[in-house]
């Protein structure tokens, strides 16, 4: 056929990368290869946007391992993990804006990653790292490390929870008042600035008189500078006392509070047993130090922490509204053991979904203790990795009615079940070439304003998926994005600002 007879083949649409099967089978409206392409409107494309430096300070942070969006009560900020390859220490910083950075808030040897959840302006931080089991690499909480809490104000992070007061106090009848006469046990609960109530301590037995109030002296102060209050707890009248001070039910005594950590007395407290309504006994079973885990999330206003160094299939669930109060008996959920650690947890439609690398299960709050929540297995073949659920905007992880999840199969929509074909069906070969032992590096964000998904790959480069034409496997338009340096982490801030973190490795 001569050139004169050749009829042109107009390409009117460019539907992105196709990496599936033989290159000769690439549809004409797709690319057999591409790099650093962004999709514009419905059918055009151009070079991806450039990146700019985000910090305008003399010493910007370097060797960025992880970035999360950290909404405080007054601003949208970032919390950032850097790593020093010379010392082996990971350090966490709070980047308030381009000109202000606090930290390091926390420096821990071997911390190559961390789990994070914001709560009431505070940041809960759990250091974790890789571990090798046979030929597989997983993540779990660092051994002998703990959950930390940061106040958002530039002060160093401290261990969440805490132990109670130590020492002894004196108890005596006070001025004229009232109590139910008889033997009570009194104690004090210390409360930290983050609202955590320590277990009742300095338990002291005392027989009250009917016409007298009760006064307390020599009350110990706490060595923890974060303690801001001490609350009186008491038993009701004990008909018999066997000598076991902690073997009875304690209640908070109304209006019996020391609003500081300096006074050593609390005088003239009157109460009736009928006033003792708020139970404090459960505090006795709380963790005083919460072990570090590889996953943190919030569910029904409870903090959920999973994959500790010693229990990779255990979820620690706090009391609602008290993220540091985790009961060591009733606050535990065991996901069936299969040798794989829990990798992720996420609430959607009032259900807590729990993920392992190739398993998805769910738990539902039945208004009872977490240990009683019923489990329903969702999928026994698909799961995800520690950062494998897309963060949406800068507020959470689920978009209206579905999650975007990185599985070994690809990037999938999850709406209670995994939708097939997966969104990344067109680039299945690219996805399946990724090193599964480095899936811990994958991180996803979903930017609905741009209608784009940004995925950090184990290769320290990015994959961008544009869904302006629709979020289904046919309409997705993919392109790898590369940079001169390795990109480790991605976050979204202020609705649609895409933040990237670059590491030397």
């Amino acid at each position: 056929m001569s050139v004169r007879d050749h009829s042109g083949l107009p390409l009117e649409k460019f539907n992105g990368l196709w990496k599936r099967g033989d290159v000769d089978t690439t549809p004409r409206d797709h690319f057999s290869d591409c790099n650093n392409i962004d999709y514009i409107a419905q059918s055009t494309f151009g070079t991806r946007p450039g990146i700019a430096i985000s910090q305008d300070v003399l010493v910007p942070l370097s060797n960025i391992k992880r970035i999360y969006n950290y909404p405080t009560q007054s601003a949208n900020t970032l919390i950032v993990l850097t790593y020093n390859y010379d010392t082996g220490y990971g350090s966490i910083h709070h980047v308030v804006d381009a000109n202000t950075v606090y930290g390091p808030l926390l420096s821990i040897k071997g911390m190559t990653d961390f789990a994070f959840v914001p709560y009431a302006g505070r940041a809960y931080i759990s250091p974790f790292s890789d571990y090798v089991n046979g030929d597989l690499t997983f993540q779990k909480g660092l051994a002998n490390e703990f959950l930390y809490v940061y106040d958002g104000l530039g002060n160093r992070a401290r261990k969440a929870a805490g132990s109670g007061l130590s020492g002894a106090m004196t108890v005596a009848n006070g001025a004229a008042g009232h109590t139910d006469p008889g033997q009570h046990i009194f104690g004090f609960v210390s409360q930290t600035v983050s609202g955590y109530n320590a277990p009742p301590t300095i338990l002291t037995s005392f027989i009250t008189a009917a016409a007298s109030s009760v006064s307390f002296g020599s009350i110990p102060t706490s060595g923890d500078p974060n303690v801001v209050k001490r609350l009186l707890v008491a038993t009701k009248v004990l008909p018999t006392f066997n000598g076991d001070l902690s073997g009875y039910q304690f209640f908070f005594v109304p209006n019996a509070i020391i609003n500081n950590n300096t006074d050593t007395f609390l005088n003239n407290i009157s109460f009736y047993d009928a006033d003792l309504l708020a139970d404090a006994s459960a505090l006795l079973d709380n963790y005083t130090s919460i072990p570090a885990g590889a996953s943190l999330t919030l569910y029904h206003n409870r903090l959920c922490l999973a994959a500790t160094a010693t229990d990779i299939s255990l979820i620690l669930v706090s009391k609602a509204g008290e993220p540091e109060a985790i009961n060591q008996i009733t606050g535990l959920i065991v996901v069936p053991l299969d040798g794989n650690p829990i990798t992720n947890e996420q609430e959607m439609r009032d259900v807590l979904y729990v993920f392992k690398r190739s398993k998805t299960t769910s738990f539902t709050d039945n208004d009872g203790d977490p240990s009683s929540w019923p489990e329903v297995v969702i999928d026994n073949s698909l799961g995800t990795c520690v950062h494998g659920i897309a963060t949406v905007l800068d507020s959470g992880s689920s978009t209206v009615d579905f999650l975007l999840i990185a599985t070994y199969q690809g990037i999938s929509q999850f709406n209670g079940k995994y939708v097939t074909p997966e969104l990344s069906w067109k680039i299945e070969d690219l996805w399946k070439q990724l090193d599964r032992n480095k899936f811990g590096n994958i991180q996803i964000i979903n930017a609905p304003i741009q209608k784009e998904i940004y995925i950090i790959l184990p290769t320290s480069q990015m994959l961008m998926g544009n869904y302006a034409n629709g979020m289904d496997w046919k309409s997705m338009r993919w392109s790898p994005w590369s940079f001169r340096m390795g990109i480790n982490t991605v976050a979204i801030q202020n609705i649609d600002d895409i933040i990237l973190g670059a590491d030397i490795n």
């Binding site: 650093n36 946007p49 700019a52 930290g103 001169r484």
Partner: protein
């Protein structure tokens, strides 16, 4: 350096094999090797060390020291200009009637080529055809077999040379601006005199294979590629080697040497819609600052190094006193060393598409 000239290269002993030879030095620089009757042995010679003489010079140089573009031209002559006997280069002092021997020349990628010598007397020079390209690999093996019972025989050689003409040819491939240091992610541009660059099948940088996605342009006379990110932390010299596809050229060819600067572009970035380049942090050089530190109440207690320095977000160094813990009274003034940050604008790496197969 002239564009052409003559050269001479002298062989030296590589090894002996077979039955033991005994050596006996005779005359100026002569080598006499004796082998006993009824024995068989051989001697291997090669070009080694400072053995090349250019344009009549008496100062030898090594093969690696030959001028860039050195190329033997035409046939080479194997000879022994100072032979002890007869003008040939191999001789036998006592010539037995029953002795046999041969001479083997090994050179080129298709060698060995064998020349059989009868009577152990080579009166004429040996012409080597087509040995030019791999002259450095040229070796000679001379073997002797003696079956008679009388007398020892000696294999004598003295100053075995190879000689010929040479020309200086311009290098086929060259790196543009080889004296300008580059960083990982910068373009490396290679040009070709004869337009063979489409025959490059693989690029290696210090042995690391450059992924094909980093190759920007591959045309007959120019080949551009991005220095891959494996060299982000590398500082020093790199050698760029081109591997041929066996059609336009074979084997590997060194295109040149480049100076690399390490690049620490790590940090926090943001995507900027509409921006057509990447602006990176670069950390070049140091500055020393004097800083006033607002220390917390820890000074009232005994300070520890970790507590104190963990407050600092930058590299630190105390200039005044290494034993600061012993007599610490005032930590307010401290000298700190930090990298100087210079924003660097670079191209967005290799944006490209490849369409599907279009009939």
């Amino acid at each position: 350096m002239p564009a052409s000239g003559i050269f001479r290269a002298r062989f030296s002993i590589l090894s002996t094999t077979g039955d033991a030879f005994s050596t006996l030095g005779v005359g100026d620089d002569a080598r006499h090797y004796y082998v006993d009757a009824t024995k068989t042995g051989s001697i291997n010679l090669h070009l080694f060390g400072n053995c090349y003489y250019l344009d009549g010079s008496i100062t030898p140089i090594s093969f690696a020291g030959l001028p860039v573009g050195f190329t033997p031209s035409g046939n080479l002559i194997l000879s022994s200009p100072q032979s002890v006997i007869g003008g040939g280069f191999f001789n036998v002092l006592q010539v037995p009637a029953d002795a046999t021997g041969h001479l083997t020349l090994t050179y080129g990628i298709y060698g060995p080529k064998t020349i059989t010598v009868t009577g152990f007397l080579l009166a004429n020079d040996v012409v080597l055809i087509g040995a030019n390209d791999l002259i450095a690999l040229l070796t000679i093996q001379c073997a002797i077999t003696h079956v008679a019972l009388f007398g020892n025989e000696a294999l004598v050689f003295d100053s075995i040379d190879i000689s010929g003409n040479y020309v200086i040819t311009k290098q086929e491939f060259a790196i543009e601006n080889p004296t300008v240091p580059i960083r990982a992610g910068d373009k490396v541009k290679i040009t070709s005199v004869n337009g063979l660059l489409t025959g490059v099948e693989q690029i290696q940088v210090n042995g690391v294979i450059v992924d094909s996605s980093y190759i920007i342009i591959q045309q007959p006379f120019s080949l551009w590629f991005y220095l891959p990110p494996e060299f982000v932390t590398f500082s020093g010299l790199i050698t760029v080697t081109l591997v041929g596809d066996g059609v336009q050229f074979s084997g590997s060819v060194v295109a040149g040497v480049l100076q690399i600067l390490s690049e620490d572009a790590t940090g926090i970035y943001e995507l900027v819609k509409g921006q057509t380049n990447d602006v990176l942090y670069t950390r070049d050089g140091y500055a020393t600052d004097l800083s006033l530190l607002m220390l917390p109440s820890m000074l009232e207690d005994e300070p520890y190094e970790d507590d104190f320095f963990s407050l600092l977000a930058y590299p630190y160094r105390i200039l005044a006193d290494d034993d600061y813990q012993d007599d610490i009274t005032n930590f307010n003034l401290i000298a700190t060393q930090r990298f100087v940050i210079v924003p660097l604008s670079v191209e967005i790496p290799s944006p490209f598409i490849k369409t599907a197969f279009l009939p």
